[in-house]
Symmetry: D2
Amino acid sequence: MTVTVDETTENTIDVLDRGFLALDGAFASDLAVVNAARVSFNIASEEMSERDEGLIRFLMRERHGTPFEHGYFRFLVKAPLFVVREHHRHRAGHSYNEWSGRYSKLEAEFYVPDNVRTQVGKPGAYTFEPVEPGVRDATREEIEAAAEAAFASYERMLDLGVAKEVARTVLPLAMYTKYFWSCNPRSLMHFCSLRNSEHAQFEIREYARAAESFLERLMPVTHAAFIANGRSAP
Amino acid sequence: MTVTVDETTENTIDVLDRGFLALDGAFASDLAVVNAARVSFNIASEEMSERDEGLIRFLMRERHGTPFEHGYFRFLVKAPLFVVREHHRHRAGHSYNEWSGRYSKLEAEFYVPDNVRTQVGKPGAYTFEPVEPGVRDATREEIEAAAEAAFASYERMLDLGVAKEVARTVLPLAMYTKYFWSCNPRSLMHFCSLRNSEHAQFEIREYARAAESFLERLMPVTHAAFIANGRSAP
Amino acid sequence: MTVTVDETTENTIDVLDRGFLALDGAFASDLAVVNAARVSFNIASEEMSERDEGLIRFLMRERHGTPFEHGYFRFLVKAPLFVVREHHRHRAGHSYNEWSGRYSKLEAEFYVPDNVRTQVGKPGAYTFEPVEPGVRDATREEIEAAAEAAFASYERMLDLGVAKEVARTVLPLAMYTKYFWSCNPRSLMHFCSLRNSEHAQFEIREYARAAESFLERLMPVTHAAFIANGRSAP
Amino acid sequence: MTVTVDETTENTIDVLDRGFLALDGAFASDLAVVNAARVSFNIASEEMSERDEGLIRFLMRERHGTPFEHGYFRFLVKAPLFVVREHHRHRAGHSYNEWSGRYSKLEAEFYVPDNVRTQVGKPGAYTFEPVEPGVRDATREEIEAAAEAAFASYERMLDLGVAKEVARTVLPLAMYTKYFWSCNPRSLMHFCSLRNSEHAQFEIREYARAAESFLERLMPVTHAAFIANGRSAP
């Protein structure tokens, strides 16, 4: 009735220059959606039928969300802090545990974007376009130099005996961290509807695309209905 | 890293006279708790050690709850309506889908208690004691007769062509229903701390005991720490 | 910046034959939505402008939900149990405390519908139509008689000394109960989008209409945008 | 039945060197707790009595949490990013909207600690002690210099036409931001139990102390019971 995916390299997707999203495990299936819905009629399916596929499309379209809560995904994520700050705003149906800079020394890994862009258009209708190669290189150098200078400052304070929780305050939002993320299919779709979207910042969108690919792999009918519904989560 | 339990008869526990609680599937382990906690130091365990067991006891005692959210249990439950009403008050980290009386005809199955009791003591300090055999028999007859009369009334209204959603309003709280219930280890412990308790009503306690036995089976270290902590959930 | 409504009779709306929905208090305004949204630009409004109204319509349309969470409504509700069971399924952003039949004797008040209907059409496309007057009268008599018989049985068991928590199991879903309900504007809109809907059962829809009228009174711009958006909650 | 506090200067508490926590509004009272609890017996209080105070102490001690959900606090907070990251982990019953660096330019305001400390002791039993004056001054200079260098780098990239959402990635965790925070009395107590604690980092503890002072002001009986219960939230 369910598909279980264990940790293997095929479950790790590289994201950005140094990050990744790995499916650490899952217990999720289209059939669980169907059965959670059919229990309202006191009936169950043993395997997916065409009618069951139609039911999932119906549930998605009519925004009957609760049957999509009966599943589970657990990811291990490595992402820059500014991405994590956006990610962790998602609350209902999401759980997180993250690497802490209070008691362990952080590592000198920073996101340096390939995709350097400029913002064009008016408030409410911004779009982004790549910058000139010269600006791109200058930006990458700025970010790299700023990150290295900050990390050097961090280490100097640690050498002085300053507590890690104080010294870390100089570290930049480009720094990578790691965290476990658990969610259910419904909360995963909410995340993807907001973050695998043209309105989302490029970097978090890369993580959302990676996460959505696991939804597609484990729950193909649900994912197809989600796409057909314009990525509007139920 | 995880234990997966598929639907088999050994995963169904009979509860009360006609009810049950069945583990429909799970993805839960003590190791996932440990790794969710250890990610704060950017380290991981591959299998449980004695130190890991100590960590789980520490997390439970200090009420660090989030590492216990990275797991999943899905149950199929058959229970009387008055139990369901108490159960579904548990919100954070719990998902439910239930048999609906709006579009399908309900079945004539009712809870008739073996354990008929009387309430003794003063407000705030009630306890319950078994009634005399004669009162017990009279009570069982009352409940059975009332349930049958209500169901007969329900069927008469259906025969008149009245909508199921109207006719069902005469049905009693003793009637059995069915539902899927998903939760994580932390929300399961919250449920058990309040409902597998001497303060809980006998009937829901039977369901909580059954649910807790699956926590014990899949996450023995977590369960032992939960018990050692006086069933106070983290 | 806020509107506070204290308990007065004008805040009580009669619902069904013996129920009500009363606004027990609120702290909610359109301006709070605007300011929660404008904080992303580090600016604030002191009173609503036309531009602010446009902002609320934009947030609703684009499903930016979080700015609608910064407000509060508290209701006291009297409703039949079958309505309460549907209501309390709404979890995120909702809080409830209800009259308990474990320790206090319940009262003989039951919902007897004026609006007796029959269900027509096929699964997935049901509609409801009024029954003939004769069927309506027969149904009302059935429900009234069943409720009275159940309550008499309840009282006989109490007279025998049986615990209230056991005796109450014969009581029907038509019985009235009371509860406090707290929510925020966003969770209130989610409730209204699902329950003030033609797909919802007539009786809960009456409660949702009443609740929505308080949203309209305290947050008129938000409510107008909600309606313009087809009652699709952000 | 409720106390409403409007925005005035007396509702703003300065926190750290440049931050604050301001009560933007509230709708909260001890009486609402009492009435949410007493509705289980279908009774209500019009004003607090000694018995009502005892009831609140009982609810707190026995961890009956739901009656504490029927109230509302809304704060406007200015805090450094590393504090915000800890704060926003609190999910159930909390809502946030924050200043965004995607579309508006951030300001050069950074937290430079007076309280520079060193970490002593072993893992699991750390404590913090002030550093020598020389180390303190060197640390303050490090943090100030690092923040200024990062902000200069941010501005250089903006001058090059780089999108704000890219340029901001060099900014440090010491930078101040602003956000609205809504919660209920129960979720506020959960926050205070974890963050107004000797285990919490000094800086977030300052915010938690400020927030707790508003709980004390508006719900004095609840706050006293919370303290008597060792700040263990119900």
